[in-house]
C-alpha cells in the first residue's frame, strides 16, 4: 500500500515540500492517500428511481430510509486509504425525526393558509430561536453516524458554543426588523376606512431613510452571513473528533469575507449577462411582432408575455448558478486545503474552480432539458470532482486512531436541517 501511494504522488505532482517522497533519514514517514470515488451515474440512477417509487407507494414515509440509503451509497463509494466511509444512522431515529418534521410542516401550512397570523409568527420566531439548535443537533447526528474503519466521528461542541457562534443570525434579523420599521416610518399613516392614497410624489428626503436602512441591512447580511458561515465551519472542524484526535482549523474570517465578496461579484456578472440576454430577446420579439402587423396582436402578445415569464425564470436560475457553483468550489478548496486532524493528518485539495463551474452549468442545462431525470448523473459527477480533488497526508501510519464512546443523537435536528436545505451529500 505504501509503495502504491508513493508512486501515485508522481502522477499527482504534489509539492515535494509537503510530502517527502522517499523515506527521509529523520522524522516519521508521511503517506499520501488520494480519495477515490467508485460510484457511477447508472447505478445511482437505479437507486434514485427505486427510492422515488418506494416513497410514492408509502406516501412519503420511505423518505428517511431513502435518505439513509442515498448517503450510504455516496459514503460507501468514497474510499479513503482503501476503506470506504460508513454511514450507520439508526433507522428508527431518522423515521422519528421525519415524522416530527412533517407534523410541524403541516401545522405551519395550516396556520398560514387559514390566516392565523399569531400562530404563524410564533412558528417563525420559534424557528429562528431554534435554528442554532437545529444546526448543532444535525452536526452531532451526522458526525456520530459517520465512521471510518469502525471509528466514529464526534461533534464535541457544547450548546453554549453553538449559540455563541450563532450571533450573526440575530444580527441579520435585527437589521431587517430595523429596515421594516424604517419603511413603516417613511409611509404616512392613512386612517382606517379612508381610500388608500398613492404617494403623490416621492421626495428624495423621504426615501433616503428607508434606502439607507436597506443598504445597511444588505451589508449586514453580507458580512454577518460570512461570519456565520465562518463560525459554523470553524466549529464543525475544530470541535470534530475522530476517535481520540481533534480537528484542526487554521482559516481566518478575512478568508471568508474575500470568498463572499468574490461570490457577489460573480453573481452581479451573471445577473448582468442574464439581463442582457433577456432584453435583447425581448426587443427582438417585440420588433418581430410589430413587423407581423396589427392582425397578430392579442393572442401573440399573451404568448409573448408567458414566454417572457418562463425565459425570465430560467434566466434567474441560470444567472445565479455560476455564483453558487463558484462559491461552493472555492469554499470547498479553501477548507479542504487547510483541514487537518491534530498532528497526524492534513488534507490538500486541487479542485479546479473553473472546471467545477462549467460542470455545474452543463449539468444544470441537462437537468432542465430532461425535466430533472439527469439529476442523479449530475450529482455523481459533481461529487466525484469534489471528492477526488482531495488527498489525505498521514504522518505515522493509519493505526493510531482510537475510538471513543459517543452519545447518540436524535434524528429531529437532522430532519430539520434537511428541510432547511442543508444537504448531507452536496
Amino acid at each position: 500500500m505504501r509503495t502504491a501511494a508513493a508512486s501515485r504522488l508522481h502522477a499527482l505532482s504534489i509539492d515535494p515540500d509537503d510530502i517527502p517522497d522517499a523515506q527521509p533519514a529523520t522524522g516519521p514517514r508521511i503517506d499520501a492517500f488520494p480519495i477515490r470515488f467508485t460510484g457511477d451515474g447508472a447505478s445511482y440512477l437505479r437507486l434514485w428511481l427505486v427510492n422515488t417509487a418506494l416513497r410514492i407507494v408509502t406516501l412519503g414515509f420511505y423518505t428517511p430510509f431513502a435518505r439513509r440509503k442515498t448517503v450510504q451509497y455516496f459514503f460507501g463509494h468514497t474510499v479513503v486509504a482503501g476503506s470506504p466511509l460508513e454511514f450507520v444512522a439508526p433507522k428508527k431515529r431518522m423515521l422519528f425525526g421525519f415524522v416530527m418534521m412533517v407534523l410541524l410542516l403541516i401545522s405551519w401550512k395550516i396556520a398560514v393558509e387559514s390566516g392565523q397570523d399569531t400562530a404563524a409568527s410564533l412558528f417563525v420566531l420559534g424557528g429562528a430561536l431554534l435554528a442554532p439548535w437545529a444546526w448543532g443537533s444535525a452536526m452531532r447526528f451526522r458526525m456520530t453516524a459517520t465512521r471510518w474503519r469502525g471509528v466514529r466521528m464526534q461533534f464535541a461542541a457544547t450548546w453554549g458554543e453553538v449559540y455563541r457562534a450563532s450571533w450573526p443570525i440575530f444580527l441579520i434579523a435585527l437589521a431587517w426588523i430595523a429596515f421594516v420599521f424604517a419603511v413603516d416610518h417613511a409611509i404616512p399613516d392613512t386612517p382606517p376606512g379612508s381610500p388608500p392614497r398613492m404617494p403623490v410624489k416621492p421626495s428624495w428626503d423621504a426615501l433616503a431613510f428607508p434606502l439607507g436602512a436597506l443598504a445597511v441591512a444588505l451589508l449586514t447580511s453580507l458580512f454577518a452571513g460570512a461570519r456565520l458561515d465562518y463560525n459554523y465551519q470553524a466549529l464543525a472542524v475544530a470541535r470534530c473528533r475522530v476517535g481520540n484526535q481533534a480537528g484542526r482549523w487554521k482559516l481566518r474570517y478575512a478568508d471568508f469575507v474575500g470568498l463572499w465578496l468574490a461570490t457577489v461579484g460573480v453573481l452581479l456578472l451573471g445577473v448582468a449577462a442574464a439581463l442582457g440576454v433577456f432584453f435583447a430577446t425581448g426587443a427582438a420579439a417585440v420588433f418581430g411582432l410589430r413587423a407581423g402587423g396589427p392582425s397578430t396582436g392579442g393572442l401573440a402578445f399573451v404568448v409573448l408575455i408567458l414566454l417572457g415569464l418562463v425565459v425570465g425564470g430560467l434566466l434567474l436560475v441560470l444567472s445565479s448558478a455560476p455564483a453558487r457553483a463558484y462559491r461552493e468550489a472555492r469554499r470547498f478548496r479553501m477548507i479542504w486545503n487547510q483541514i487537518g486532524l491534530s498532528h497526524i493528518a492534513r488534507c490538500k485539495c486541487r479542485l479546479d474552480v473553473g472546471r467545477y463551474v462549467r460542470l455545474r452549468l452543463v449539468n444544470l442545462v441537462l437537468t432542465l432539458i430532461t425535466l430533472g431525470f439527469y439529476l442523479p448523473y449530475a450529482r455523481i459527477s459533481e461529487y466525484r470532482m469534489r471528492a477526488e480533488s482531495v488527498t489525505l497526508f498521514v504522518k505515522g501510519g493509519l493505526h493510531q486512531l482510537a475510538g471513543q464512546l459517543a452519545r447518540e443523537e436524535q434524528g429531529l435536528g437532522d430532519a430539520l436541517a434537511d428541510a432547511a436545505g442543508l444537504g448531507l451529500i452536496t
Binding site: 422515488t52 406516501l59 460507501g76 390566516g115 392579442g298 437537468t367 430533472g372 493509519l398 493505526h399 482510537a402
Partner: protein
C-alpha cells in the same frame, strides 16, 4: 439452530481503534435472520470468537446486480465494522445462512421487481389523489365549525373589497330586489346545512362573474347581471347561476379546495420534489384543476336538482354559459377573471376559460358539454 456456515476471511474493526484484526466470518442461521461469528485468525487465533446478534447487524446493500464493490463493509452496530474483500464468497454464505434480500434490494437488482413496484406505486398515487384526498377533504370540511367558515368567507370578500378588485354595486334597487326574490325562491328549494346562512350580494368589478364564498354568501357581479339582460336572458338564467353557486356553498367547495390544495402541495412536493420541482408544480396544478372541475360538476348537479324542485327552467342558464363564452372568444379583451389570493378560498363562477381540447388545463369543464348536460337535465356523474 442449524449448522454454522463458514464464510470468507475479513478484517474486523471493533470501534476501539482503527487497526483491523484478521477474522474468519461465519454465519449462523436464525429465526430473525443470520447472526455473525467472528473467529480470530493469525496472531490473535488463540482468542475466543465473538458473536454478533442479528439486531446489531446492518447488511450492506447490493447496489447493482453486475458491479460488485471491491470491498464490502458490514455494520456491526456497537461492535464496529467488518470489511470483506471476497464479495462472492460472502454472498454465497449469506444465502446459505437463509438471509432474504429486502424488497428495496430486489428492486435494485431485478428489473421485473422494480417495474412491478413502479406500476403499483402509479396506481396507488392515482387512487390516493382520485378518491382518497377528496374523501378526506369532504370529511374534514364537515368538522370545521360553521362560524369559522363564515368568518373565512367574510374575510375573503373583505380582502377583495380592500384590494379594490370589487366595488359597491351600481345596479338599481329594482333589479336588486327582483334578484333577491329569485334568490329566496332558489334558497327555499335548497337543503342548507346547519350553520350556513346563505345570502346574496352584488359587486361591481371582476368582469362577468359570480362566485360563492365559504359560509354561503353568493356574489353576482354587475357585469354578469348586465350581460344576462343584454343577451335577452331573463332572471331565470341568473337563478340557475345562483343555484350553481349555492351548490358550491352547500358542498363546502371553498374549504375542501383549501384542504385538497394543502394535501397536494405537501404530498406531491414530498414525492416529486426530489425528482423535479417543475414536475411537482405541474402535477399539483393539473390535479388541483381536476378537483376544481369535479366541484363544478357537483355544483351543476346541485343546480339541476334545485331548479327542478323550484319549478324553474335550466335551459336559460345553459344559454347564458354559451353566450358568455362567445363574448369571451370574440375580439373584445377577455374580462379579468380574478385569480386573486381571496379567490383561492372561494369557488369561482361559471366562467369557462378554455377551448374544449384543453379541458385538462382548465378549472371548469368544457362549456358546450356543460350547457348540453344542463339542457338535457343529464344527471350522469351526479
Amino acid at each position: 439452530m442449524s449448522e454454522a456456515v463458514p464464510g470468507p476471511a475479513g478484517r474486523w474493526f471493533d470501534g476501539s481503534t482503527s487497526r483491523g484484526r484478521p477474522v474468519r466470518v461465519d454465519l449462523l442461521p436464525g429465526a430473525r435472520g443470520p447472526s455473525i461469528r467472528l473467529v480470530p485468525l493469525g496472531v490473535d487465533s488463540g482468542r475466543s470468537a465473538a458473536e454478533i446478534a442479528p439486531a446489531d447487524i446492518g447488511w450492506p446493500e447490493a447496489w447493482s446486480a453486475h458491479h460488485a464493490p471491491s470491498v464490502l463493509v458490514i455494520d456491526l452496530g456497537p461492535h464496529g465494522s467488518l470489511q470483506v474483500h471476497d464479495v462472492v464468497g460472502w454472498q454465497r454464505a449469506r444465502t446459505l445462512a437463509g438471509a432474504r434480500p429486502s424488497l428495496a434490494t430486489r428492486m435494485l437488482t431485478h428489473w421485473p421487481v422494480f417495474l412491478s413496484v413502479l406500476l403499483v406505486s402509479a396506481i396507488a398515487v392515482f387512487a390516493f389523489y382520485r378518491w382518497g384526498t377528496p374523501w378526506v377533504a369532504t370529511w374534514l370540511a364537515r368538522q370545521v365549525p360553521p362560524a369559522w367558515e363564515r368568518s373565512l368567507g367574510q374575510r375573503s370578500l373583505q380582502g377583495l373589497d380592500d384590494a379594490r378588485m370589487t366595488q359597491p354595486t351600481r345596479l338599481d334597487a329594482d333589479t336588486q330586489a327582483r334578484l333577491r326574490e329569485r334568490f329566496g325562491q332558489v334558497l327555499a328549494a335548497t337543503a342548507v346545512p346547519p350553520g350556513q346562512k346563505p345570502e346574496l350580494q352584488f359587486r361591481a368589478g371582476m368582469g362577468v362573474n359570480a362566485f360563492a364564498l365559504p359560509g354561503g354568501t353568493v356574489v353576482l357581479t354587475d357585469g354578469l347581471v348586465r350581460h344576462a339582460g343584454k343577451s335577452g336572458l331573463g332572471d331565470e338564467a341568473l337563478a340557475g347561476v345562483m343555484a350553481h353557486e349555492l351548490g358550491h356553498a352547500v358542498h363546502r367547495h371553498g374549504l375542501r379546495m383549501l384542504i385538497e390544495q394543502g394535501v397536494l402541495s405537501v404530498g406531491l412536493g414530498l414525492v416529486l420534489g426530489d425528482v423535479s420541482n417543475l414536475l411537482a408544480l405541474a402535477g399539483t396544478t393539473a390535479t388541483g384543476l381536476a378537483y376544481s372541475r369535479r366541484h363544478e360538476v357537483e355544483a351543476d348537479c346541485h343546480a339541476l336538482a334545485v331548479m327542478r324542485r323550484a319549478g324553474l327552467p335550466v335551459a336559460p342558464m345553459a344559454d347564458l354559459l354559451e353566450t358568455m363564452e362567445q363574448a369571451q372568444a370574440g375580439p373584445a379583451p377577455a374580462p379579468a377573471s380574478a385569480p386573486g389570493p381571496a379567490n383561492a378560498a372561494s369557488a369561482s363562477g361559471p366562467t369557462a376559460r378554455s377551448a374544449p381540447s384543453w379541458e385538462w388545463l382548465s378549472s371548469h369543464p368544457a362549456t358546450p358539454d356543460r350547457a348540453n348536460r344542463l339542457r338535457a337535465g343529464n344527471t350522469q356523474g351526479c
